[in-house]
Each structure stands twice: as structure tokens, then as C-alpha cells.
Amino acid sequence: MNFSLNEDQKMIRQMARDFATKELEPKAAEIDASGEFPHDSIKKMAELGLLVMVIPEQYGGAGFDFVSLAIAVEEISRGCGSTGVITAVHNSLASWPIANWGTDAQKQQYLPKMATGEMLGAFGLTEPNCGSDPASMETKAVLDGDHYVLNGAKRFITNGGVADVFIVFAVTDPAAGSKGISAFIVEKTHPGFSVGKHEELLGLRATANCELIFEDCKVPKENLLGGLNQGFKVAMGTLDVSRIDIGAQAVGIAQAAFDKALAYSQERKQFGKAICEFEMIQEKLALMATSIEAARLLVYSAAAQKDAGKKRFSKESAMCKLFAATTAVEVTKEAVQIYGGYGYTKDYPVERYFRDAKCMEIYEGTSEIQKIVIARSLLG
């Protein structure tokens, strides 16, 4: 196992870090408060090639590896948690499944536009009554001539309110349970598609998280993705990849909180000395730094499995997501604690990190689901 980054990966880290520091961090508090989607930042990220990093160059992608994508998501999230998940969703939940399961025509039609940011992507799996259990899906798709007709609703969809293209899952064979689900590429212009209510979230508030509504929504037959009744495979395969980036996002948020807390502990004086001189604070700093480093290695290691062409890496991706999410929640909590009363105010960014981090344990499979995925892999 190689622990050092190659030149491309180092270059991407530097580029993404500079961008996050200059472009994202200064706006993060404002878009968190207003909930306004960062359209400008997304445009700039398209120019830097950050929107379709792992897509082959022939479809307008940057052709980078999954370790590079994880590094980019980590650095972007370090500047702004909302922008981090917007990027992760567009890259690994929306464009990657098209690249992996799409027909050549689908790839030609969507990927170049997703590369330039002309089309922003989203992923519609979760439903009001179907969170961790996709087999209980209620959205249905029925073939009618040259169209599928979709009816139902999706909830908690990141980028939902602003995306142009959605990977949507619907039941095509109600008797077959999880084997009766299919994936579709749905455009916001398809008749019968609409955006429902905007969620008021605890954190990651600038992500246009919305409900999607399908009322006799007509989707061209050729927009079926990955074959009829293959949706569960598409969903699980996509989540294996995207969980690596949620792990990366968690590492980025934790790192941001740690950097701030470390600096503050050296500035803040109580009882006549800097608080970093107290062992109780030192213990916190040591544990925070150690967990972040371990989480980062789990993330890169999972991404490296994917890059090495391994077919199944559910366990590695669940492990990195589980551990990094726990780390982010714990580290951001301790960062608020080190800041004390100041950490509880919006004068400093640590309270935002604390709110943003919590979602890491919840979306793209809760921590409980990750444990089940890991245990199933272990039990074979």
C-alpha cells in the first residue's frame, strides 16, 4: 500500500485548497445563514474541472482517479461544507453512474454538459417513507409507448431545487421487491416533474435540499439507466463510490474545525496562560488530530481500492464513511468546546462545522446502516 500522493494528486490538493480558501471560506457563513445556493462558486469549479473529475476526457471529464476526487472534496469541504456535498453529489452520485452504466448516447448527451456546469446533477433515491430501506420504495414507473410514466415523490434531495438532471429510482416490477427497481435519467424539463418543499436543515443549509414530485412525469424510454430492473444494483454501486466522498467531506469539515481550534487554543489565555498549555485541552487536540489522520487514511484507502479496479469495496467505503462521520461529529463538538462560550456564537465558524458535521452520520446511509454493510461483508 502506497501512502504517498502522486504529483497529480498533490497538484489537485493545492489547487482545491487555494480555491476553497480564497473563494469558498469567505462566503460560507453567509450562504449558511441565507440558505442561498452558491451558483457562482459552482461555475468557477466547472472552469477548474472540479465538477466531473473521474469522467473520461472523451466526455469532457478531467479523467482523474478516485483518490484525487476524494482529495478535492476534502479540500472544498474544508472551506465550505455545503459546497463540499454539492460537489460530491454532482461528481459521484450524478455524473459517475451515467459514466458507469450509461449508453454511449446517454454519456454523449449528458456528461459534456455536466462537465461545464451547464447541467447540475442530483440523485433521487430517498422517499418520505423510504430512507434506509430501498425495498420499500413507492415511486412507480410504467412503460407507455416510447415513455416511462413516473408517479411518486422523493425527499431530502441535495441539489434538488437547482439541478437540471436527476438519477431517479422507481419501481418497475412491484412484485420483485428490490429486484424490481429501475434507474432513470430525468430532466427537470420533463413534463410532470416539479420541485416540492425546500427543507430547513440543521446544517449544510446552502444545498437546495428539496422534495421532488413526479405527477405522470413523462421520461423518454431511452433514459432508462443500466437496464430494466437493474436499479438496485445501480443505487448500491453508486453509493459504494459516493460514500468515499462523504468520508472525504467529513474529513474536510473535521480538519477545518481542528485548524481553528488549534489556533484558538494558542491565543486564548485563562488563568494566566494559553489554554493549550492545559493537559485537558492537549488531550483533546491529540485525539482530534489522531482521529482525523486515521479517517483520512481510511478514505484514501477506500478510494485506492476503487482505483485499483477492485469490483466490490462496499466494506471499505462503509468503514471510511462510518469512521470519518463519527470523527467529524466528535472533532467539531470538541472544537466548539475549546472555543467555550465564543464557540456557541456565530462570531466564529466552529458552530457551523458542528451543525454541518451531523449530517455525515445520517445521509447516504446512517451510521447504523454502515455497520450493517460492514458486518454483512465480514459474514460473507
Binding site: F156, Q270, K333, D347, I362
Partner: protein
């Protein structure tokens, strides 16, 4: 713990009040960052702003355990209201009741107990947080009284308060021994609210920065005696930890309520979810016993710094953990207002910080444990 009939009845009364009245404004006040004024008025009408004070001073004449139960039940549905009643009673009123002259008590306790005045406590400063004794606010003795200059930060309810107990130094070269406490009426010239904090949680409570510019207070506004301020605020904080513990306990119970409500509605409960539910329920009960235990020490008039610190440390960590677990297990719906756990998650973090951080609690507990063992060793010899 089996409560006496009197305490059980009081709990039932407070639970009804909390569900029917306090809960209504909780979400809106949090979302809008509006002070829980309506709830304060409703508490005042029912006498809840003076639960542990004698009837002759306008209080309800109940004990500390009753008061802790009230703070718990109120915080269970609205932590912003919970912190407001806790700060008013334990920090804004208690020091006057305990250390005030008969004249000060007669003047202020009935007004505070009836809610004509909301009480507040001004100790923390920009550079005096955990190191509370290093107050930089100064008081200078003059012919007309005391001239106070300085500022305070993170002061609960001060915008709405009638009185603020202010800690100031008569002689900064004496360190903690120079600190004196004053009862300051908020209408005093030179007293001003400089700004309001924009906070992570408890957004329906009022937390402000205060500025004192040549604020002249009368000579009889000294609380206790000159140079006794450190002892007064330390003892006040020790007792205050019972109500902060009760406040955290209420939030933890609120998180448990949401988790249980979700579990009851989800049909077959997974083993993992059922294990988390059990863990949270067990921790909440342990926190409750620690809080009630500390309250009973207070009712027996036994100083119990260690027991108060146990209650505050443990209940605050349980509240944060319970809210976090409830969110994980419930999943994404927990992030939305439907289950209200996201609000508790934000509110609860203050418990580990306010009125002595968890680090300070651990320092107190270690000190007390070491002094216990020293006393034991002394006895053996």
C-alpha cells in the same frame, strides 16, 4: 426514584403546563430568534419564577427538588425557556436570597418571585471565562456609592432583566480577593446592553454583552460584604449547577421522547435501534438521579460542590449524546422540524459550556475527590 406525592403532583402540573403552554412558542422563538416572552409571563402568572423561596417573600415555598423538576419539565419542551427560568432563579435571585441584607431581600425577592423583575447574573467577561476570578470590571468607592466601569459577556436575560448581580473588582491587585458583588438595577444610568449574541442554539433565550460606563450604584447595593464577591459567586455557581443539570436532563428527556415516538411508529424495531433506545433511556435515568440527588443535598442545606458538579457534567454530556443518537437513529427526518431533535442538538451543546465548562467540572470533581481521600487518610492516622 420514587417521588413523594407532593413532588409527583407538582411534576404532573408542570408537565401539563409545559405541553399545553411552553411548547407552543418553542419552535417559532427558535426559528425567529425571538425571546420566549410569552412563556416567561405564563410562568410568572403561575408563580414558577419563585418556586424555592418562602411564601412570605412571594415565593411558592417549595423545595429545590420541586424546582429541579420544574426546570426539567420545561426544558423538555423548550430549552430556551428552561435556561431562562434557571438563570433567573438560581443565578439572578438565589444570591440575593442567600447573601442579601433583610432590606435587599424584602425589596427584591418578591418582585423577582412574582416576575415583576427578571433576574440576571453578570460574571463572565471577554477575558474572564473559565477563569472567572480574573474580572476586569472595576468598582470604585465614592461618597455617593460605587462607580462601576467595564463590560460583561454572555449574560443571560439581561435585556429583559430588572436586576443584574454584577461582579466587579474593588482592587485588581488583590486578584479574586478584590471581587465584590453588586445588585444593579438595569435602569441605572451608565448601564447598557451593548449587543446581543447570535447563537448556535437557545435562540429563544436572551444572551447579551453589557457595558458599564461610570455607572454609579448606591452604597447599599453591595451584596453581602465588600471583597466577598468570589465566595458569593462560587457558591451561587455551585447551586446553579443543579438547575443547569435539570435543564440538560430535560433536553436529554426531550431527545429520548422523540426517539421513543419514532420507535413506536416504525413497526418492527431493529436490534440496533432498540439498543440505542435502551442506552439513551438508561443514561437519562442516571442523569436524573444525579440531578435529584444534588437537589436533595441543597434541600438538606448541605454544601455539595462535588454532587452538583457530577449532576451538571453528566447530564450535559448525556443531553448532547442523547440528541446525537436520536438524530442518527431517526435518520434524515430528525434534521427537519417534525421531530425537533435538531433543535435539541443545537441547544444541548451549551450545557457543556455554560456555568462552568465540562473541563472546569472535572477540575472541581478531581479536587473534591482528592480532598475526600486526604480526609480519609487523616482519619486513618
Amino acid at each position: 426514584m420514587i417521588l413523594s406525592k407532593q413532588h409527583a403532583d407538582f411534576r404532573a402540573e408542570l408537565r401539563k403546563f409545559s405541553r399545553e403552554v411552553v411548547r407552543c412558542g418553542a419552535r417559532v422563538c427558535d426559528e425567529q430568534g425571538e425571546f420566549v416572552d410569552g412563556n416567561v409571563k405564563a410562568m410568572a402568572e403561575r408563580g414558577y419564577l419563585g418556586i424555592p423561596w418562602p411564601k412570605e417573600l412571594g415565593g411558592m415555598g417549595r423545595d429545590y427538588l420541586s424546582y429541579a423538576i420544574a426546570v426539567e419539565e420545561i426544558s423538555r419542551v423548550c430549552a430556551s425557556t428552561g435556561i431562562t427560568i434557571a438563570a433567573h432563579t438560581s443565578l439572578g435571585t438565589y444570591p440575593i436570597y442567600k447573601f442579601g441584607t433583610p432590606a435587599q431581600k424584602e425589596k427584591y425577592i418578591p418582585r423577582l418571585a412574582r416576575g415583576e423583575y427578571l433576574g440576571s447574573f453578570g460574571l463572565t467577561e471577554p477575558n474572564a471565562g473559565s477563569d472567572a476570578a480574573s474580572v476586569e470590571t472595576t468598582a470604585k468607592k465614592t461618597e455617593d456609592g460605587y462607580l462601576i466601569n467595564g463590560s460583561k459577556r454572555f449574560i443571560t436575560s439581561a435585556s429583559y432583566a430588572g436586576t443584574v448581580i454584577v461582579a466587579a473588582s474593588l482592587d485588581r491587585s488583590l486578584g479574586r480577593k478584590g471581587v465584590t458583588c453588586f445588585i444593579v438595577e438595569t435602569g441605572t444610568p451608565g448601564f447598557s446592553v451593548a449587543s446581543e449574541e447570535n447563537k448556535l442554539g437557545l435562540r429563544g433565550s436572551n444572551t447579551v454583552e453589557l457595558a458599564f460606563e461610570d455607572m454609579l450604584v448606591p452604597a447599599d447595593s453591595v451584596l453581602g460584604k465588600e471583597y466577598e464577591g468570589y465566595r458569593i459567586f462560587m457558591e451561587t455557581l455551585d447551586g446553579g449547577r443543579i438547575s443547569i443539570g435539570a435543564f440538560c436532563l430535560g433536553m436529554a428527556q426531550g431527545a429520548l421522547d422523540a426517539l421513543a415516538r419514532w420507535a413506536a411508529g416504525c413497526g418492527r424495531l431493529s436490534q440496533m435501534a432498540s439498543a440505542r433506545l435502551s442506552d439513551v433511556a438508561t443514561e437519562v435515568e442516571a442523569a436524573r438521579l444525579l440531578v435529584y440527588n444534588a437537589a436533595q443535598y441543597k434541600d438538606a442545606d448541605v454544601r455539595a460542590d462535588k454532587e452538583c458538579a457530577f449532576a451538571k457534567l453528566y447530564a450535559s454530556e448525556v443531553a448532547v449524546r442523547a440528541a446525537g443518537t436520536a438524530m442518527d437513529v431517526i435518520g434524515r427526518p430528525a434534521l427537519t422540524p417534525e421531530f425537533d431533535v435538531a433543535r435539541i442538538y443545537r441547544d444541548a451543546k451549551l450545557g457543556e459550556i455554560g456555568e462552568g465548562t465540562s473541563e472546569v467540572m472535572r477540575m472541581i470533581i478531581a479536587k473534591e475527590v482528592l480532598s475526600d481521600i486526604a480526609a480519609e487518610q487523616q482519619e486513618e492516622r
